[in-house]
């Protein structure tokens, strides 16, 4: 039934278009406009350009004002503010270029629309102009490259040696997180050791593994450098922490790194957001203002299969003391999985001994 309706509708549409087509043709013949170089349509099209310009830029200015409140809050990492600054600086420059070129691009069609009485100006080239508008963009680009280079160098510099080691491993379709424990060293891993229990393939032949622990949420201390050791065990994933302006692919067989310093605790961020109208809106699901349940989040940004869009993890940034308290309360993976380890032939007693 629906398909019959669709078919009839389609045929009707074609018939209507055919009629419109005929009418357009006949009218233009009747008016004799086919003989003229440019008809009324030329004027209509010409005037539509400035109109489109005004409406278009009006809409951009209007909506940019509205959209801001849904942008990410102020960066929560040290390098994040630098990236934001660079971003908005570049946006200002290209915004200006976009606007200025469009003023001309949408004004000229109107101004120089066809007139019988006029003829176009034969102006094939002007080398001075070409040089000017080659050099100006070149200078602007140089400035942007240099400032980008400074920030990039800063972000990708080696992590300080006292940085907290955290391991993040992507898999279909969630993240596993491991902390290095009191020794500050992550134990080795081996993908052949992975199974249903030992999801990260922690290798317990390495003594550094013994005090390592895993966690559900990612806890981070404010103000201390954190080194993320990133890997994947099946396909590509990508660690994206939008609030920290941080992204790095997780690659099977090739560990990657990213280090940064969180600058705002989750509580401070909630406090800050409570001042913003958009965050005071009530979330219909919880019945509370949105800022109350604000959380830093980790998302996957490299397509990894059907569950790609759901690889979420919560990040909790705390004051260093709170973090240390949490850290010391955690039980090591080894002590939680004694039975598993002994079934794999490890001497559990020995492992436990070397823990202190």
């Amino acid at each position: 039934m629906t398909s019959v309706l669709l078919l009839v509708g389609g045929i009707l549409l074609v018939v209507i278009l055919a009629l419109v087509y005929r009418i357009f043709t006949l009218v233009s013949i009747a008016k004799g406009s086919t003989k003229k170089r440019a008809s009324t349509s030329n004027k209509v099209n010409a005037i539509l350009f400035p109109i489109a310009f005004l409406l278009g830029f009006g809409a951009i200015f209007w909506y940019s004002g509205i959209a801001q409140k849904y942008f990410l809050p102020e960066a929560a990492s040290a390098h994040g503010s630098e990236i934001d600054y660079l971003f908005w600086l570049t946006m200002a420059i290209i915004g200006f270029a976009f606007f200025a070129t469009h003023v001309l691009l949408f004004w000229f069609p109107f101004k120089y629309q066809y007139k019988e009485s006029r003829s176009a100006y034969f102006y094939p080239h002007n080398d001075k102009l070409e040089i000017v508008w080659t050099i100006i963009p070149a200078i602007v680009m140089t400035i942007l490259v240099i400032s980008g280079y400074v920030v990039w160098n800063d972000v990708t510099s080696p992590a300080p040696s006292e940085a907290l080691n955290v391991e993040i491993m992507g898999k279909q379709f969630n993240w596993e997180v491991r902390y290095s424990g009191n020794d500050g060293e992550l134990g080795r891993h081996d993908y052949k050791k992975i199974d249903g229990t030992n999801a990260m393939g922690i290798d317990f032949r390495d003594p550094n593994s013994i005090d390592d622990f895993t966690a559900r949420d990612i806890h981070l201390p404010k103000g201390r450098p954190v080194l993320l050791n990133i890997r994947a065990r099946d396909v590509l994933h990508s660690v994206f922490m939008p609030h920290f302006r941080l992204k790095m692919d997780a690659v099977p067989g090739m560990p990657t790194k990213f280090w940064f310093t969180p600058t705002k605790t989750t509580a401070e961020m909630r406090e800050m957001l409570s001042q913003e109208p958009a965050w005071q809106e009530i979330n219909p699901e919880t019945g509370e203002p949105r800022y109350k349940n604000f959380n830093y989040e980790l998302a996957c940004t490299e397509v990894c299969g059907g569950g790609h869009f759901a690889m979420r993890k919560v990040i909790i940034v705390e004051e260093p003391e709170e973090f240390d308290k949490w850290h010391n309360e955690q039980e090591s993976w080894a002590s939680k999985n004694k039975d598993y380890l002994s079934s794999k032939g490890y001497n559990v007693l020995e492992l436990a001994l070397s823990e202190d």
Partner: protein
């Protein structure tokens, strides 16, 4: 002749469509396995347009999911079958399959084959004054390899396990391991086979274009007198010939990894409950190889559009293109630089940070020749006498999209900023404007402009205007808002955003985009109608409807095999003598000698005119 033609009093010359046919042609050699570049061009065009509708339909489907995440999609079941679950929800892997196929189809089948295939084929011989391509046979093969590739890709859409789904870039290991997603099974195999044929088609085409431009230019047509269209097609072909083989290599290694147990891209993988034996490979290697084609590919789709636009803007502004040499120079610059910026797609892939800064530097350099091009277009409009044909409108639209999409490339090319924006909707906004929409506009402009030469009839202008304004406003309404969504951090290739607090905003905007997309897509039906209806019922085209100066308009209304009935015209001047002071008309065709236009010659051209005289005197003597 049908009745429509009777009431049309246009001048068409009467002697053109009877005598110049080879009567030994049958239906097959004329329309199917044709060796004629014009027929092959039309084959590419129509196949490309059909693909455009399939690619558009797919985007409509996944935009429904994004715009209306809670909607019941049961009504799509007749089309999508089990991809819509019993609860009326779209399958998450199908979403990725649709995105992947949409990207593949649009980039390769529509904007590479549909654009270069059509216009390089159609215009190169006509604008350089050649009777056909250097090798008609290779040219025919080029189309039929494309056809074969199309058939395979099309069939893969209907596989039970779905077509390839890992994104149009098909990064391994996802694309290498059928365990990772169902689309990486047979669908991926067919993708690889199809793309292999596609690459063969592109190479055959490209080699032919290059050879033809170098060898078959008519007398007098030096490279410094070539229309910018030909320059653009020529450089595009060079880029393609140099970069497609690298994609072929990448695909071949992927085939080995998939089927023969090699480890080019695979290392230390645990999936589906087992540890795979592969060690030592690198997924990053694939990314390097892919983007070595992938980045030049965006210029493969863009340069022909820019070439077409240069031609159309000059013709309809009735002015020479401003800075002809600067235009060629910037195209050469872009073509060269396009090979050494690929790693800007890999800033956060784990690439060495030092390499990242080198690629940032090289990437931002590309902005300079691109800016020069934009300024030159705008200056060409300045003090013109502009006629708004639909082709002209699409060309001006292209310049706007080229700028608005291009400037955000400066943001993304900055490695520090790209940390945040990589793989977000900001990227989707950027490349849809600069590559997707701009090239698509170039293609539309080309169709409207050269339709009279292709089919001997005119398309309806009014419908063209409606089509332009709906499409122009439409693409901005669809793609501009994606910048906001991208700044807010929304990742691309996401089936839904409801899982994250950070991405739970902008739901209204996403609905708005989807509605705008569906309207814009529907507006393309106006074009489809206009195109197919005009082939049969359009009014007969005059010989030179746009009063253009290039050689194709010196052919008969519907050029037969061999293009010109008599001798091939000789070229004396550059293609942009529009509104030359002193000239009788507001254009002088390329085949008009300077000696016939003393009233408008510049001093140097007056000298050339003398030589022309001597030359032709000599020829006369020899003939006697």
């Amino acid at each position: 002749m049908s009745t429509v033609d009777i009431d049309i009093h246009n001048t068409t010359d009467a002697h053109d469509h009877h005598d110049d046919h080879h009567h030994n042609e049958n239906f097959f050699t004329k329309y199917v396995f044709s060796l004629d570049h014009k027929t092959i061009a039309k084959q590419f065009l129509i196949t490309g347009l059909l693909w455009a509708f399939i690619g558009g339909l797919l985007s409509g489907i996944f935009r429904l999911q994004l715009g209306f995440p809670d909607a019941d999609l049961t009504w799509l079941k007749p089309l999508l079958g089990d991809w819509i679950g019993a609860d009326g929800k779209m399958d998450t892997e199908f979403y990725l399959a649709a995105v992947t196929m949409h990207g593949t189809i649009m980039v390769f089948f529509v904007l590479t084959a549909g654009l270069s295939g059509t216009f390089s084929n159609f215009l190169i011989p006509l604008q350089i004054g050649a009777r056909d391509m250097a090798s008609g046979f290779l040219n025919m093969l080029s189309y039929w390899f494309f056809f074969l590739s199309s058939v395979i890709m099309f069939i893969s859409l209907f596989l039970e396990t779905g077509p390839a789904s890992g994104g149009w870039v098909i990064y391994p290991p996802l694309s290498a391991l059928p365990q990772a997603m169902s689309g990486s099974g047979l669908g991926m195999t067919m993708w690889l086979v199809s793309m292999t044929f596609f690459i063969v088609s592109s190479l055959l085409g490209g080699i032919n274009y290059i050879t033809t431009v170098i060898n078959l230019r008519t007398e007098g047509l030096s490279f410094a007198k070539l229309p910018l269209t030909i320059w653009a097609f020529f450089l595009t072909a060079v880029i393609g010939v140099l970069s497609f083989p690298v994609l072929f290599a990448a695909a071949l290694l992927l085939v080995f990894d998939r089927s023969f147990g090699t480890s080019f891209y695979l290392s230390e993988i645990y999936i589906g409950g087992e540890a795979l034996p592969n060690v030592g490979g690198s997924p990053i290697l694939y990314q390097h190889l892919f983007w070595f084609l992938g980045h030049p590919e965006v210029y493969i789709v863009l340069l022909p559009a820019l070439g077409i636009t240069s031609e159309i803007i000059a013709t309809n502004a009735r002015k020479p293109i401003f800075g002809y040499r600067a235009m060629i120079g910037s195209m050469l610059g872009i073509a060269f630089l396009s090979f050494i910026v690929w790693a800007h797609h890999m800033f956060v892939s784990g690439l060495n940070p030092f390499l990242g800064s080198v690629f940032m530097f090289l990437t931002l350099i590309i902005a300079v020749p691109s800016a020069v091009k934009a300024f030159n277009y705008i200056t060409t409009l300045w003090r013109g006498n502009i006629i708004f044909t639909p082709a002209m409108l699409f060309s001006i639209g292209l310049v706007s999209l080229f700028i608005s999409g291009g400037v955000t490339g400066i943001v993304l090319g900055n490695s520090a900023i790209d940390i945040q924006l990589h793989d977000t909707y900001f990227v989707v906004a950027h490349f849809h404007l600069v590559m997707g929409s701009a090239s698509f506009f170039g293609m539309m402009a080309g169709v409207y402009h050269w339709f009279p030469k292709m089919f001997g009839r005119m398309m309806n202008e009014k419908l063209g205007y409606v089509h332009f304004w709906m499409t122009f406003i439409g693409v901005y309404l669809v793609f501009f808002p994606m910048h906001y969504i991208g700044i807010a951090g929304f990742p691309r290739r996401y089936y839904s955003f409801t899982n994250f607090d950070a991405f739970s905003t902008f739901t209204d905007l996403n609905t708005f985009i989807s509605i705008a997309a569906i309207i814009t897509l529907t507006a393309q039906l106006i074009f489809a109608f206009n195109f197919f209806f005009s082939i049969f019922k359009g009014k007969l085209a005059p010989l030179n409807p746009w009063k253009s100066s290039t050689l194709e308009w010196t052919t008969p209304r519907l050029p037969g095999h061999g293009n010109w009935t008599g001798a091939i015209p000789k070229v004396y001047r550059w293609p942009y003598d529009y509104s030359k002071p002193g000239a009788k008309d507001d254009f002088i065709a390329q085949n008009v000698p300077y000696s016939e236009t003393p009233e408008s010659n510049l001093p140097m051209e007056q000298e050339l005119a003398k030589f022309e005289k001597e030359d032709s005197d000599e020829v006369k003597k020899v003939n006697e």
